[in-house]
Symmetry: none
Subunit: 220 residues, 4 copies
DNA sequence: ATCTAACCGAGACGGTACGTCTCGTCTTGCG
DNA sequence: CGCAAGACGAGACGTACCGTCTCGGTTAGAT
């Protein structure tokens, strides 16, 4: 992923008056990431971010409704910057690569402390959930789509029967990959090293291949 | 799981004086869950919990170091109460059952709002991480061990080569199951219905079976 | 009093560029009075006045240094408009008349809330004190001078011995009349009705007459 | 006047819990007076007072509703401390004495900046008006009653015809004295020196004596 | 039958951050 | 160049919780 994250847009359609400073946006998001590293989510305050950015608190509140929204935008940029899917020649190698990339991203103190916090917050705030989805989740889901296309082109995976099944499967694979890496890193608090990545990939690719071979629960 | 969660233990070895009220413990944890349902994690306050429990703030702080510790204990009880592994006759059926149980638990507002919040908090607090691990994670990991034993007894899965590999595999399976369900529920914010549980189980059991059949990345 | 209050004068001698709008001055002062009525002194803000007047905040600050200066000019106009000294035939009647006029002016919400506020402000701001003096105090002091001249012409009061004593006495009478009415209205918060005006006038005119008769403290 | 001003009283009749610190009350009122001297009314902030008093902002707000209430209590103490009515042997001498005392009090920066400000504020706040009345105005009104009794005992003034007239006259005299001194000091911004005090006293005592002699407006 | 240590409720305490408001200044682009 | 619009840095507002600290009073085991 490379394109810039959606910064913030003026709500009203006004055209007069002094325009908002684009420098301020950049300084605020950088200050937010810096503060996340030093303080973590729960000790990060809007006032502190404003001070680090050399900006008044009002300027923050004019652009973001609160800490959660600000942090989502601040970390979304990191996802765009650090996740990509270089072609490594096989489905397994591609999966291993993205797993290690994602794990490295989650080892960063900014993401580690922020990601679950905003997700937790989003369980009570629909607008925040949508923001997370559009700024982070949906953008990274394309990694799965690209990876699957490549595997299909290589003949490692069969074509999807229809568009609906294709979308369902992509969502499932995304949840399995992202969920396993997040859980290993943040809940189990164990490192995602090369060995784990290999074992996880074996499990996942095995499952995808078996499914292609027509698995059904023998007890069903 | 059925046994009660470890409530709180007096730190000092004192033996004289008025003993702590056990009623208070129960009232506080119940009040905490109630407040989580009504307010969510971020709006829950110690003072509010104390008031609901009919207890002074001092009494809370005498037993728990803070909101995170209190909430971990309050939700840990729910995990013990609502997760079990009845024998459904096949590995796939057992997995599907536990996935649906876990999803139902995560749909409850108390767990939904609290779980990721305390995990986020734990990224900066080692004591909290240990508390989560011992009160929740490790206790539920036995579900995987029991399920695998049954599958091995049924002949669905081979025996593990050695104890170390057995532990690594159990951890991996646990992270994959728990991670996928959590991610689907809280991050993707989509329901874990019977269809999803079936598709996920097919993927997982397929992977386990393929691995048993000796999968290795063909590109490796 | 009838002539307009001194609005504002351009400081710099600039002559080029777009001239200032005289409409704006009127609209701003009217908006200020309106806001004083609705909000009172302490809740009145420059931004609110600007919005009411349909004017940019910049325009206000270009003409007045702050809230105090603006309000002084806004209420000074009311003093000029509502205080006059019609000849009622006797010193007592003239005093009673002006007392009731002044009381009526102080009952208006604009003056009631603003007058003491700007006076309080002026205790720490010499420029503001001068502005109050020239825009309000000195202008109304002529009422005393005119009244005394009439009374002297009628023979109710003797001529002043010299100019210095004349000025001192006029100041004293002004402070007594204005002070008593203000204190009754704003501090004691009791109405200045016809009865009070009569009693006050009796006291004042009695004192002036006694002084003319050569009062000295018998104990001195 | 000597007795202490009414500090603050707990609203609820509760008897449990940690009692309020009396030291804090004293420190806060002293800090308020100090801040008034240094900063004046409009630049005085609750946060600054709290910091000077070595007290949290919440402690201020627990006891006083706002800046106005706090300042009324802080300056009321000065009135009690600095105004008294020693017997100087004649009505005129007593009046001159209290006029000079009051003027000295009004020359203090705390009172000068605060008194008119809270009066201005009280025009929009009935509770504040009552507080000013009970903490300051009514307490000092006894000076007039005592002075009149003495003058009557000396035979300088006749007895009042009835209680209602006595109260009306006392109020009138109080408004005339206090109003004249306040207006001279704060509005005209001229000093109340011995000469002015003598001239004012002559006017007032002359009026009181003339009234006793049966003045009526000749034009009425 | 006391003693006595630790408990309990209530609520004040010094702090910190909140999110909002107003201040007075500084860009913008239009006329 | 004046003007309306509105963003800007600054900082006070009054509120909410934090976690700690008195208070007076209760409770139960050890003496």
């Amino acid at each position: 992923m490379t394109s810039a994250p959606p910064p913030t847009h003026r709500t009203g359609g006004g055209r007069t008056g002094r325009p908002r400073s684009a420098d301020a946006d950049r300084a605020i998001l950088a200050a937010t990431r810096e503060a996340l590293v030093e303080l973590g989510w729960s000790k990060l305050t809007m006032g502190d971010v404003a001070a680090r950015a050399g900006v008044a608190k009002t300027t923050l509140y004019r652009r973001w409704a609160g800490k959660s929204e600000l942090v989502v935008d601040a970390v979304a940029a990191l996802f765009d910057e650090h996740l990509e899917l270089p072609d490594r020649g096989s489905l397994g190698a591609d999966v291993e690569g993205v797993v290690l990339q994602f794990a490295a991203l989650l080892e960063r103190p900014e993401t580690k402390t922020a990601l679950m916090a905003v997700v937790a917050e989003s369980t009570r705030d629909d607008a925040l959930r949508d923001r997370i989805r559009s700024a982070i989740v949906d953008r990274q889901k394309t990694l799965v789509l690209v990876g699957r296309e490549r595997a299909q082109a290589r003949g490692e995976l069969p074509a999807e029967p229809d568009a609906s099944a294709a979308a369902r499967n992509a969502d499932l694979i995304f949840d399995v990959i992202a969920g396993a890496v997040v859980h290993r890193t943040l809940v189990s608090a164990e490192p995602v090293d090369a060995e784990w990545a290999r074992a996880f990939t074996a499990l996942l690719v095995g499952g995808l291949t078996a499914a292609a071979a027509g698995y059904t629960d023998p007890a069903a």
